[in-house]
């Protein structure tokens, strides 16, 4: 007697539901497997894609900026050149003033130890957790816990994972990051919290009188500017106000960073978890 076999049908696992989705899932699981087993090979394979994304972003930016008004761009360029010249002069005056003070006080200024320069291959907003992927790792003497600086010596974050040829940086704007610092010319102490999306926030007493535009500092060699207050959120029923802080450099366009060992004062004011993943 001929038996009739009926194929078992499942609405959730029908072949038409699985084809391309199954391919994508297999690819993602394979990528995770490679990252966990041979992380350096994984990042070596992925880095060209990140560099391609960088080149694409730069090309598209140049393409769209070419539609801008040439007269406006020229005026803006001239304004920026003037500002740059003024800042350079101001910087020179401050350097001279510092040297004079050291001579007056009888001690010589300490020479800064050179940091490690590393290229950034992935950054927000492509990287959704406010992290950088750097194209240098332990082969360039980078170790976990080093502080990361952008152009102008602006602190950006902390090295959180290191491989042979790559490392990852958790930015101060990353959720779960906490660092002690100060705000304003009167150096009001506060704890800076990462808010994600390249921004930070902090709470201070209303009586401190912090206003938009005040600079925010973190410890380092002295007080290093990490950003500025862009908005003060105030609730009349609360004795404190919330400061919305914008980083001093645009995290979305950082191409290189400098890494230096974090000082003890900075490490004492930092709160973050320990890495468990390669």
């Amino acid at each position: 007697m001929k038996k009739t076999f009926l194929s078992r049908r499942n609405a959730l696992l029908a072949p038409e539901n699985l084809s391309w989705g199954a391919f994508a899932l297999t690819f993602a699981v394979f990528a995770l497997f490679v990252r966990l087993v041979v992380p350096n090979l994984f990042w070596s394979a992925v880095a060209p894609a990140f560099r391609g994304a960088d080149a694409l972003a730069a090309g598209s930016s140049a393409f769209f900026s070419s539609f801008g008004n040439a007269a406006d761009l020229s005026a803006k360029n001239e304004e920026l050149l003037n500002q740059n010249a003024a800042l350079a002069n101001e910087n020179q005056a401050l350097v001279q003033k510092t040297a004079s003070l050291f001579v007056l006080l009888g001690s010589s200024p300490k020479t800064d130890t050179p940091g490690i320069i590393a290229g950034v291959v992935a950054r927000p907003p492509a990287s959704p957790y406010d992290t950088f992927v750097l194209a240098s790792g332990s082969d360039a003497d980078i170790v976990v816990g080093m502080e990361v600086f952008g152009a102008g010596g602006v602190p950006l974050g902390i090295v959180s994972a290191v491989l042979t040829g790559f490392s990852r940086v958790t930015l101060f704007s990353s959720p779960s990051m906490r660092v002690d610092g100060w705000v304003g010319s009167t150096r009001v102490p506060l704890t800076i919290r990462g808010s994600g999306g390249g921004t930070m926030s902090a709470s201070v007493a209303r009586s401190a009188g912090v206003k938009a535009g005040d600079a925010v500092f973190v410890p380092g060699p002295g007080a290093l500017p990490v950003g500025s207050v862009v908005r003060v959120d105030s609730d009349p029923s609360s004795p404190s106000v919330t400061l919305q802080i914008q980083p001093a450099v645009n995290l979305f366009s950082v191409a290189w960073v400098e890494l230096r060992a974090a000082g003890p004062s900075f490490a004492a004011g930092l709160s973050w978890a320990t890495s468990t993943m390669p």
């Binding site: 989705g21 994508a24 993602a28 391609g52 957790y129 993943m277």
Partner: protein
Amino acid sequence: MGDLDHAMMRGILTLTSLVSVVLFPWPLTTVLVLASASVEPLLPFSVGLLADTLYYVPHAAAFPLFTLCGAAATVLAFFVRSRLGAGPIR
């Protein structure tokens, strides 16, 4: 021909979503994946897993959020498809 076009569209959506994890800002990737979830229910979970493979560090978040959100979107997409498949509306 219609089936071929449909399959090709699903393939293009899948590949674009995977590539967008590296090329595009994550909000754009999220919109693209959610829009594709109706035709490829496994895609949100896959793309979330790939995003966390590339970018997740324990310091940044206690849990791999993109994997979890992708899994939730995939379950929801499968549920919606099973309801639509069981009903008279195709």
